[in-house]
Symmetry: C2
Subunit: 209 residues, 2 copies
DNA sequence: CAAAAATCGTGAGTGATTTCACAAAGTCAG
DNA sequence: CTGACTTTGTGAAATCACTCACGATTTTTG
């Protein structure tokens, strides 16, 4: 618990990535893996991988590497892979639809259980097995999911955020360009597609490799 | 030129974000803005904003703040907003379609000019004004765009990447879960939607706010 | 079994980024 | 015009992240 608090954020962000690759190795029937091999697969320096793993104790064996099955079961526990986090998706536009069709449950502990939209034509049906409700019924139909994915037009972002927060959501994955305001008890991760593309273009022009 | 090379990467990543908010202010008719106001809007510490701006010289005035119009024209030049970067999109599935419908040209210097897909049913039409070609004709039809957005199934990612690289692409925005291998002259930015969601879930459970 | 090879875990160094905190310089009201 | 106020730009400190390099330990080979 107190131990976990000390794990650097940069490490925490890489854990799901490690988990997925270790799972792949397991499915391929590999018994052992070295930090060097893993490094080539996930494109993270091998010393960084060893350091990351070391925050959880000594998971490997010198001269041998890491036992895939052990590593997998360890990360499964650590990432709470056995316990599913239920997620609501707000905004069934192009991007929202993509998420609903995406099968998050592969290698994953998160599941979209309900979606909302403002357009009546979209309400009532379902996409990828997820029922679509009207945004007016947000409070009533969202149950107590703790995480929401926000894929609405930016103008609507803050208003819906306020309602989500009032309903007790504690994490928001925000795909709108708007920077939303939340109480300090709520965690927001921003993914701004247009910033990503622009920033890639900027790097290409100004940081020649 | 040499000056620009020294701008920290962390700063460079925030520039497109600054640009968009400054543009909003300009459209709202605001004449001046302080780092404190901007900080509240973009959710970046005001000292960080001042430091970021300072890499470009003294853009503000003490006791006054920053002149919105000046700032905007400065960032327009810096981010090459007048010069459009042409982009190809590979994989017109759910996510790819979302991109094509998304209007990137708002506040933006990037434009998707051509899309490719392996399914014949999708080829020939267009989405959001962008023509869809068959992946077999990639080399022939992509012209010399320098940036590609990869929204294909992970199994196809490396193969297509190799073809893109051979054709001279220098930047790839990779939305597949696969970690692709490229020569050191090519820049890749990864956006892994499932990692983002899992990592948010992990932070919620282990880093209480 | 002994020597060679592999590989982890980590101390220590380096580098990058953020934040504090304040002098300097300007604005603004009366 | 003066004094109170605002806000920048930046040195210096603090924090965070990454990488090197090597001792320790185990595996592997002959």
């Amino acid at each position: 618990m107190d131990e976990e608090t000390k794990i650097p954020q940069a490490t925490a962000k890489r854990l799901p990535l490690y988990y997925r690759f270790i799972n792949n190795l397991y499915l391929q029937g590999k018994k052992r893996v070295s930090s060097k091999e893993l490094s080539e697969a996930v494109k993270v320096d091998s010393a960084t991988i060893r350091r990351d793993f070391s925050y959880f104790g000594a998971l490997g064996k010198k001269g041998y590497g890491y036992n895939v099955e052990y590593l997998l079961s360890f990360f499964r526990k650590t990432l709470d892979q056995d316990e599913t986090t239920e997620v609501a998706l707000i905004g069934v536009g192009n991007l929202g639809t993509a998420f609903l069709n995406y099968n998050f449950m592969k290698n994953n502990n998160t599941k979209i259980v309900v979606a909302f939209d403002a357009q009546k034509e979209r309400v009532g049906g379902e996409i990828g097995g997820v029922p679509i409700e009207h945004i007016d019924n947000l409070e009533e139909k969202m149950g107590n999911v703790s995480v929401a994915i926000l894929t609405v037009p930016s103008q609507a972002a803050q208003g819906i955020t306020d309602r989500l927060v009032a309903k007790g959501v504690s994490g928001i994955l925000n795909f709108t360009p708007a920077r939303i305001t939340v109480p300090s008890t709520v965690r927001v991760h921003h993914i701004d597609l247009s910033v990503e593309l622009q920033s890639l273009a900027y790097f290409l022009k100004h940081y020649p490799l």
